[in-house]
Symmetry: C2
Subunit: 138 residues, 2 copies
DNA sequence: CCTTGAACCTCTAGTCACTAGAGGTCGTAT
DNA sequence: ATACGACCTCTAGTGACTAGAGGTTCAAGG
């Protein structure tokens, strides 16, 4: 049996976050001691590990809820899990593309600034004020 | 003079968001008509354009507040603006690195799923449940 | 057995950057 | 004069937590 603190150190999920997950129904309410403290079994640890891992991969709580439902009904087809992962992959890829564009502009912006003038003639400020100075859309 | 709606269509910032920016002090309170409606001049339009552009580049409201202060005192050195842009660039780059790692794992995850089994034997589910199946840390 | 102190409990409120909705007023075109 | 869209304020909600107050329980050392 694990206390909530032990679960926290083992999974890397903070204690208030674990309680929050329970509150929103992502984790089932565990047993309690006579003094009303949470005690988790191995299955609680595993479920939280699953949640943590999926969160690290950027899955939303909503998506994780669906994944957990699939996990609880292991005879359902796995296509849906694949779809969720696929959607997550596309979201990640579009974020990367967008960030790459931002990176390019920020690099241009930083390169143009020598830190030796006043903001009145600063390329960073001018570029932020005037979108037309950007090379591409964002 | 522009109404809040005209400002919205010209900058692409939604009307409630403009009011929100005013509320938190990012935009100065504009003039009002006799009937209490906001009327903006060109400088209001420009300031909102600046904010929009910086937000699109991922600057936090806090950072934008600083940038606007710098803009309002154009005789200060621009080094600080450069620092903010530099910090933003580093943040973007680390996000990109992280997302690239996630992308790799998600691709592996999606590739391993053929959508023809049950979740009991699904690679997606197994991989999410067991972090040890990951190739690298995240 | 007793005490100490860290870990636990609940509850409320705050974070960021908005977004949604209710219920009412204003401006402008016909 | 009358529509009707755009505007106003205010409150509350979003996601995914985080922080703090104020109180209780557990486990280890004496």
């Amino acid at each position: 049996m694990f206390s909530i603190g032990q679960l926290s150190t083992r999974t890397g999920v903070k204690v208030p976050t674990i309680r929050y997950y329970e509150e929103i129904g992502l984790l089932p309410a565990p047993e309690r001691t006579g003094g009303n403290q949470r005690r988790y079994g191995v299955e609680g640890l595993q479920r939280l590990g699953f949640v943590k891992h999926a969160r690290d991969l950027g899955f939303s709580i909503e998506a994780i809820t669906k994944l957990l439902e699939l996990q609880d009904h292991p005879d359902c087809t796995c296509a849906e899990a694949g779809d969720l992962a696929q959607a997550q992959l596309l979201a990640v890829q579009s974020k990367i593309a967008r960030l790459n564009r931002l990176q390019a502009e920020l690099q241009r912006l930083v390169a143009g600034c020598h830190g030796d003038g006043t903001t009145g003639e600063c390329y960073v400020m001018a570029s932020l004020a005037d979108h037309d100075l950007c090379l591409d859309e964002h």
